[in-house]
C-alpha cells in the first residue's frame, strides 16, 4: 500500500491480531467524528470497519496473527472513505455477498453489516497484485 498520506488522510498498519481491533475502532470513531457524522452513524461505521478487519484476519489470513493489514481513512468533502489492504488469500467478490437474515444462525453477519451500513463496498483483486483491497465509502446525510 502507498505509505504517503494526504492532508485529509490517516493510515494505520496493524498485525492481523484481533486484539488490535479496539485500537482500529477508536481511530475510526475519531475520524468519523471529524467527518461530521452523527453519533448513530459513527457507531455504524465503526462496526463496518471492525467487521471488515475481522473478516481479513479470519478469511484472508486464516487466523495467522503475524500478517499485515493497512487501514487508510480519507476525509471526503461530505463523508469518509475506508481502504483496507491485506496480502492474504484473495477474496472472491461473488462469495462476499453476505447472507440473508431469514435464517437465525451464528456467523455470516459481518458482510451483511458492511453492506447495510456503508453506501459503497467494493472488493478489488488483481491477478498481478497480492491480496485484496476493500474500499468502503459512507456519506454524511444532510438534514432537511
Amino acid at each position: 500500500m502507498e505509505v504517503n498520506i494526504g492532508q485529509n488522510q490517516v493510515l494505520l498498519q496493524i498485525k492481523s491480531d484481533d486484539r488490535y481491533l479496539r485500537l482500529v475502532r477508536t481511530m475510526v470513531e475519531e475520524i468519523s467524528l471529524l467527518a461530521g457524522f452523527a453519533p448513530h452513524d459513527i457507531s455504524d461505521i465503526v462496526l463496518a470497519v471492525d467487521e471488515a478487519c475481522a473478516n481479513i484476519i479470519k478469511h484472508a489470513y486464516g487466523g495467522d496473527k503475524s500478517k499485515d493489514i493497512f487501514i487508510k481513512l480519507s476525509l471526503l468533502s461530505s463523508g469518509i472513505e475506508v481502504i483496507l489492504k491485506d496480502y492474504g488469500r484473495k477474496v472472491s467478490p461473488e462469495k462476499m455477498k453476505g447472507r440473508e437474515l431469514d435464517e437465525i444462525r451464528p456467523g455470516g453477519l459481518g458482510i451483511y453489516f458492511m453492506k447495510k451500513i456503508m453506501d459503497s463496498v467494493q472488493y478489488i483483486t488483481r491477478d498481478s497484485v497480492e491480496g485484496t483491497e476493500l474500499i468502503m465509502v459512507k456519506y454524511v446525510k444532510k438534514c432537511g
Binding site: D18, L21, S43, D44, L47, R105, G107, G110, F113
Partner: protein, 112 residues
C-alpha cells in the same frame, strides 16, 4: 471481557463487562458453554457493561439462545446501550431475542 454470575430466585443472571468482539467472544463462548452444561433453564444476560458488540458477539449470544431453546431453556437480554441496541436492530435480532430495559424487568418476566 469479564463475567459476573449471580442467582436471583431461580434465574441465573450473567453480567457481561467489556467489548464483545472477535477477540473477546471465544472467552465468552467458553464461559457460556460451562453454564449450559449445567442445563440452566432461565438465564438473563445483562449487557449493561457492554459498550460494543460485533457479529462475533452476536454469534455467541445466538448460539446460547439456540442451545437453550433445544433443551427447553429460555434466554432474556437486558441493559443494552444505544449502540448495542442499534446493532441488534440492524441484524433484526431485536425481534428474536426477548429484550428488556432492566435486569429486574427481565428477571420478573420469568415469573409472569
Amino acid at each position: 471481557m469479564e463475567f459476573e454470575r449471580k442467582t436471583e430466585s431461580d434465574v441465573d443472571v450473567i453480567l457481561l463487562k467489556g467489548d464483545m468482539d472477535s477477540h473477546t467472544s471465544p472467552k465468552a463462548r467458553d464461559f457460556f458453554a460451562g453454564i449450559l452444561k449445567e442445563g440452566k433453564k432461565k438465564i438473563v444476560v445483562d449487557l449493561d457493561g457492554v459498550k460494543y458488540i460485533s457479529s462475533a458477539g452476536l454469534a455467541t449470544l445466538i448460539e446460547v439462545f439456540q442451545k437453550m431453546h433445544r433443551y427447553g431453556g429460555s434466554l432474556k437480554l437486558c441493559g443494552m446501550n444505544e449502540t448495542t441496541k442499534g446493532i441488534f436492530e440492524i441484524a433484526k435480532l431485536d425481534s428474536i431475542f426477548a429484550i428488556y430495559e432492566t435486569k429486574d424487568k427481565a428477571v420478573a418476566a420469568f415469573s409472569s
